[in-house]
């Protein structure tokens, strides 16, 4: 039995709502740990109200943040997955259903890049990208709505045979540029290598990794640890008003390429919006986040 487009429509709408009304469990655990380790009194208080705000939102089915971002879905399609109907149309329909039905209603956030006119629907919305998974009979959908607060600080630079010094310096400069404004404690995603576009994709995917899970490559894992320690020594703290809880995680993905090495850096704010489900050919839905 194939996966029905109606099921994709309802699941993708639900995923967006989940991502708006609660924070991931690992993120809550990291913030709770920070509340016990933060040395700045204002930072501790800010962490406490972050936890209270997200708990209240979850309990009362309310939005954590009013900036619901624009809809972004990343889909991994298994080579043996069978889909009945039009997948893109189903996700567009799911977002339209969400806009019509979600309580409380969401604000218009989809913005024309040139006129800045806002709307709920627009050509190419939701933004959907696809990957392929060999020998799999499922589709895996990640929903990661992106808003301005953290989205605006992403950056990419192309280096030529960079030293580790240069890479570390560039990531730190990006973090300092975002400073107080990306709603810390942040998750920092870094993509190193490949092509211009692939480095950005790796950085984005890195922000979706669970807190505390390191890159399996020991050299990359140690880079993550060094950067996390350095970022938490900058002093920006929760909401950027001071403290030593500036980043929850630094996640780095790498790819071989050529001598030109793109380094892409992007951020998630403390809400760290992400939900992920897998739908099998038999229609079984497994929610991972």
């Amino acid at each position: 039995m194939p996966i029905s487009s109606q099921q994709i429509r309802s699941v993708t709408a639900q995923m967006y709502e989940w991502s708006l009304k609660q924070i991931p469990d690992d993120t809550r655990a990291t913030l709770a740990r920070f509340e016990t380790t933060e040395t700045n009194p204002t930072g501790r208080k800010t962490l406490a109200i972050m936890l209270e705000s997200s708990d209240e939102a979850k309990k009362n089915s309310q939005l954590v943040c009013s900036d619901v971002g624009f809809p972004v879905y990343m889909i991994k399609v298994g080579s043996r997955a069978r889909i009945d109907g039009n997948l893109r149309q189903a996700i567009e329909g799911g977002f339209a259903d969400l806009v019509a039905q979600i309580d409380p209603p969401i604000l218009q956030m989809v913005t024309h890049p040139l006129t800045h006119k806002r709307s709920y629907a627009a050509p190419g919305m939701p933004q959907i990208t696809f990957d392929w998974v060999d020998d799999a009979d499922y589709i895996e959908i990640t929903c990661s709505p992106k808003a301005l607060g953290s989205g605006r600080w992403a950056a990419l630079e192309i280096f030529v045979y960079p030293s580790m010094d240069q890479i570390e310096k560039y990531v730190m400069e990006c973090v300092l540029r975002a400073g107080s404004q990306a709603c810390p404690p942040i998750v920092v995603g870094v993509g190193i290598g490949g092509t211009f576009d692939y480095a950005a994709k790796m950085a984005k995917e890195a922000t979706l990794r669970a807190n505390g899970v390191h890159n399996p490559d020991p050299m990359v894992a140690s880079l993550e640890e060094r950067l996390l320690k350095a970022i938490n020594a900058t002093g920006f703290g929760p909401m950027g008003t001071g403290g030593d809880s500036t980043a929850m995680a630094v996640n780095v993905n790498i790819s071989h390429g050529h001598g030109f090495v793109p380094v892409a850096v992007c951020f998630n704010c403390w809400i760290n919006r992400r939900t992920r489900v897998r739908i099998n050919n038999d229609g079984e839905v497994t929610r991972y986040e």
């Binding site: 943040c65 107080s180 909401m239």
Partner: protein, 224 residues
Amino acid sequence: MSELIGQNLKRESRVHHLTLPITKEQAQDVAVGDMVYLNGEIVVTIGLPTHQRIIDNAAAGEHLPAALPHGAFFHLSCFNREREDGSFEALYMNPSTSTRYNSFMPRIIRALDLRMVGGKGGLDAESVAAMRETGTIYLSFLGGGCTLLARAIEEVAAVDWTDYISQFRLVTLKVKDLGPATVGIDAHGNSIYTSLARDAQDKLRALLAQMKAERNAAAPPANE
């Protein structure tokens, strides 16, 4: 200035329960790092065109909300829904990034002699200079604080410029115990944001050296 802010960061912050509108003297008694709860009327918007319209109307002497002059003007995004009887209800609110409005804020702060501005992430040096002239403080609200901020809303007192989408309108809200908000910039020109950015920049060289030392201690350089 940096030393003063350093002291403020290290001490336990004071908590202020302020009823709007506040006087210049009250604004000057508040220091960076303090926490504030607000009672009374605030005016909110996150619309860029709204900011230009405030400037234009102030210059022309045209309509502005009564609570705006000498008042509290915040970059808070508010979903205000019209009821059948024409009145409005506020469903939730949440701060936006204030630096987006840097080019407007010095003129608005001076033209309206504001006592409070706010949102999240602070404002630039030109705004801080205007705030020092007028005696204005900046409040940092919790980004992602929809539920906590919304429960402080008692009433939508006015919704101006309904030709804009909801969050771009100029909304006057009556609030009770809105907070806690952190004082990010005080009326004496002290900015936590300027101070933290400068401190982080000052530390950068040492942090990079530390990372290099840790790397070299763990393993021989891999790509040098």
